[in-house]
């Protein structure tokens, strides 16, 4: 089974995010970049599937040169090949444009399965997976927390949480699956994996290599424009309710919820 995993490099979830002077982007100087955690689930699921059915796992990322580090991590985890779409013209592209580039890179390849994260933990849009499926004209199964293949590897049964229940969906292949937390526990790169990673192919492609028109990409081509980034309001101090007895405190709480918070 040939599997493709789309990878995004995002700021470490523990990084302190600072808004840049233009109020439209963030300061990237001090940021530690890591693999989008949802994409780690994708890599892990792809590797598990490969271990069962054989085949090849290819990881694809888009972004500046530093994204190679994230791709190498995936190779060290066990993926076979990496592709980085790296083109200055793609800087600042919106999600639809990113999906278009990924789809163009995937189009010529043989694949049965594509994994993307259900969203990137940086801007939380969740658009890329669905758009890639759309551009490739294949079904998309979103927010999946369990994947099971038929014995013959020709179809897949997945589970998706819905409102406290679980929806089971079956699909033929090829299909694009977006990963949800709980799908698996991603492995760490092992040392033998790290040594092997160096020898694995990691191709770099520009937009024109993929037959794309640079004018469809970058800041200028955005359909989705960022107007302004704001920090969340600082949390105000909590309030401790005073009172002689539990009854008295409960009454005061009810009053506050009613009169101040206006929730009741």
């Amino acid at each position: 089974m040939n599997i493709i995993v789309c990878l995004k490099q995002v700021p470490d979830t523990e990084a302190q995010i600072k808004i840049a002077g233009d109020a439209k982007s963030i300061v990237t100087d001090d940021i530690k970049w890591v693999m989008n955690p949802y994409d780690e689930f994708g890599v892990e699921e792809a590797l598990k599937t490969k271990e069962k059915f054989g085949g090849e796992v290819t990881v694809i990322g888009l972004g500046p040169k530093r994204v190679t580090e994230t791709i190498r991590t995936a190779l060290a985890m066990g993926a076979d090949k990496g592709i980085l779409i790296c083109d200055d013209a793609a800087d600042g592209s919106d999600s639809i444009a990113v999906a278009k580039a990924l789809a163009a890179a995937i189009k010529g390849m043989e694949y049965d399965l594509i994994f993307t994260g259900q969203r990137g933990v940086d801007d939380d849009l969740g658009v890329v997976g669905a758009s890639v499926a759309e551009f490739l004209d294949i079904p998309q199964l979103s927010l999946i927390e369990d994947v099971e293949f038929a014995e013959d590897g020709k179809s897949v049964k997945v589970k998706r949480p819905v409102e406290g229940e679980v929806l089971t969906i079956e699909s033929s292949l090829p299909v694009l699956i977006t990963t949800q937390k709980g799908l698996n526990e991603p492995r760490y790169a092992s040392l033998p994996g790290i040594m092997k990673a160096k020898k694995k192919p990691l191709d770099q492609k520009t937009l024109s290599d993929l037959g794309l028109d640079a004018s469809d990409f970058g800041e200028g081509a955005r359909k989705l424009k960022i107007v302004e980034l704001l920090s969340p309001p600082a949390r105000s101090a909590g309030k401790i309710i005073e009172g002689e007895s539990p009854q008295e405190k409960a009454a005061e709480l009810a009053r506050l919820l009613h009169e101040e918070a206006k929730l009741l």
Binding site: Y188, A189, S190, L191, P192
Partner: protein, 605 residues
């Protein structure tokens, strides 16, 4: 990005700019160790350290080990990290691939292990002792011993230990009384009691291979009659499968100050007359064998202490940047002046800078020694090999004795920067101090390190090792002297080196004179001043590189880092070396009071 274990920029600086570890890849042995791979090793090791080892640090401390019916139960929180660490291949990063290692340079191992130790030094005792036992098997094992044990030990599938200490034999290993009697089949029956054995019994691995010092019947007394044995907890059949349990019984574990997650076991060997082991190496050559491995084992302890110190520093630094308390001294009587972050107070800054210079100086020294070991391995020139071996021999007591002393001081400052919170278990500072404390004691107390340094190492080859070292330091001083702006600092280090040379000469003579006791009373202070001078050397060498980068090609992001390097050596030369110089005066005075005072005059009776 806030870092809590090791400063990645600094680790990369030492590895790739100061030590140039990636240059080793031009040798066949390390051809896979290119810069990309080395960086990936550090990154992926960090991931494992932060996500898995670090959370188990506090958990393991609170849980501790349990002793029930002769069995020791390791902390539950260590189970998953151990499995991941072992399966990831981290136990023997620098060993032969044939035996389950990864064939990487020792220097990169120290860098990775620094981070693992910073995350959880107690946890690291399991794989590190295992690795140490593996080294003994690799070096002295017969083909059969290697095939039975080595791969399973080097991969951490089985644990490994070192059984030296007994009730009457601590610092004086020569006093051991555990005995070994040869059997008809060539094995030995071992009888005796060992104490304080780290990871001597636990349930993280299915088997444990003990390296045991014992005395063969009729052997000469003292250190010349000691042999080394391999004693598996569970016997291993010739086909490699596990057989009967051996007669090795854990009779208890110690309740101690720190490293609660690692059991310190009392082991009774051959209580039922049925503890079988095989000889490792030659009869009566056990202690020499142990000593050959001692350098690396002691360096491992240095890495452990460095791990505690770097973590303590970064925790304190992050805290000092956030905690607001008190007003700036410069705000005068202004009652409305805002509280400032405590990093703004000179006394806190002094402590942070003290922590910084030791952590960074120690990091450089440890990686440097790793590089010496690697260069020894790849060199095909006998003189060069001897030079590196000499540096390692000479500097090991520094990297154990001095480094652990200073690392502990760093952890102590770490608590102070946190104020009251430093004393409270909700914060990591107190545990780092407790865990770090053991490093001053095991693998030879720091007192013993100092004696080894003055009594053995200093005088080796008529002091040649020591003078060679001073020669290496001079090279750096010369370079620094040629860099505009660093001349004064170079001169400061040079002055200290000259005085150290003089001090060493006088002390060495005294050590073999009728005043030997007076000289050895100052062995520890002498190790300390030597360590200080070595720190100043390492910091100066950093500054030479930083200065060059600042003058030529430092990126905007790197400027504060490089400027920090120059400030570090400035602080060390201006504020610490004068104290070092005073300590040298005190050594030279060689006060006889220490030796002359009557035991009874100490009072207390």
């Amino acid at each position: 990005m806030t870092q809590i274990l090791t400063d990645r920029r600094d680790v990369d600086f030492v590895l790739f700019e100061q030590m140039k570890v990636d240059k080793l890849s031009k040798h066949e042995r390390f051809k896979i160790a290119n810069k990309k791979t080395l960086k990936l090793i550090i990154s992926e090791g960090r991931n494992l350290a932060i996500n898995e080892l670090f959370p188990a640090h506090v958990a393991g401390d609170r849980e501790g080990c349990k002793f029930e019916n002769g069995k020791v139960i390791a902390p539950e929180s260590f189970r998953k990290p151990y499995k991941l660490f072992q399966e990831g291949g981290w136990v023997s990063l620098a060993e032969d691939i044939e035996w389950g290692g990864q064939g990487m340079p020792v220097a990169i191992t120290y860098a990775a292990n620094e981070c693992f130790n910073a995350a959880n030094c107690t946890f690291m005792m399991y794989p590190e002792l295992t690795h140490g036992a593996g080294k003994l098997i690799e070096k002295f094992g017969t083909d059969k011993q290697k095939s039975l044990y080595l791969k399973n030990v080097f991969t951490g599938k089985w644990g490994g230990t070192m059984l030296l200490t007994e009730q009457e034999a601590g610092s004086d290993v020569g006093a051991i009384s555990t005995s070994a009697v040869k059997n008809y089949d060539g094995t030995y029956s071992i009888t005796g009691n060992k104490i304080f054995i780290s990871s001597g019994e636990h349930d993280l691995t299915e088997n444990i291979i003990h390296a045991v010092l014992a005395r063969v019947e009729g052997a000469p007394a003292g250190t010349k009659g000691i042999s080394l044995f391999l004693v598996p907890r569970i016997r291993v059949n010739d086909d490699g499968t596990l057989g009967e349990p051996n007669d090795v019984v854990c009779t208890g574990i110690e309740d101690k100050m720190g490293i609660h997650g690692n059991p310190s076991c009392s082991l009774s060997l051959g209580d039922k007359g049925n503890c079988k082991g095989t000889l490792l190496g030659k009869e009566n050559k056990g202690l020499q064998a142990m000593f050959i491995m001692m350098n690396e084992a002691r360096l491992t302890v240095g890495v452990q202490a460095l791990g505690c110190a770097t973590a303590s520093y970064l925790h304190a630094l992050n805290y000092a940047r956030e905690r607001r308390q008190g007003k700036s001294l410069m705000s005068g009587k202004d009652q409305n002046a805002p509280s400032i972050q405590i990093i703004g107070h000179p006394d806190v800054r002094r402590q942070l800078l003290t922590m910084k210079v030791y952590v960074e100086g120690i990091r450089s020294l440890i990686y440097y020694l790793g590089m010496c070991i690697d260069q020894m391995h790849v060199s095909d020139n006998e003189d060069e090999k001897a030079k590196y071996q000499g540096l390692v021999d000479l500097l090991t007591p520094v990297a154990k004795g001095y480094v652990t002393d200073k690392a502990f001081e760093v952890c102590n400052h770490g608590i102070q920067v946190f104020g009251g919170y430093g004393y409270i278990k909700d914060y990591p500072a107190e545990q780092l101090l407790r865990d770090c404390r053991i490093t001053l004691i095991y693998e030879g107390t720091n007192g013993i390190q100092a004696i080894d340094f003055l009594g053995r190492k200093l005088g080796m080859n008529k002091g040649k090792l020591f003078y060679d070292l001073l020669g290496e330091i001079k090279k750096t001083i010369t370079k620094a002297g040629q860099a505009a702006g660093l001349e004064g600092l170079a001169a400061g280090v040079e002055k200290a080196v000259e005085k150290l040379k003089k001090t060493a000469g006088i002390l060495m003579k005294a050590a073999v004179s009728p005043k030997a006791l007076n000289a050895f009373a100052f062995a520890h202070p002498f190790l300390e001043v030597t360590g200080d001078v070595i720190m100043s050397w390492m910091l100066l060498s950093r500054a030479v590189i930083a200065d060059d980068r600042l003058k030529t090609k430092a990126g905007k992001k790197d400027i504060p880092f490089y400027e920090g390097q120059i400030k570090s050596v400035e602080f060390f030369v201006e504020s610490i070396l004068p104290v070092t110089s005073g300590k040298m005066d005190s050594i030279l005075a060689m006060s006889a009071s220490i030796v002359d005072i009557q035991d009874s005059s100490f009072g207390g009776k």
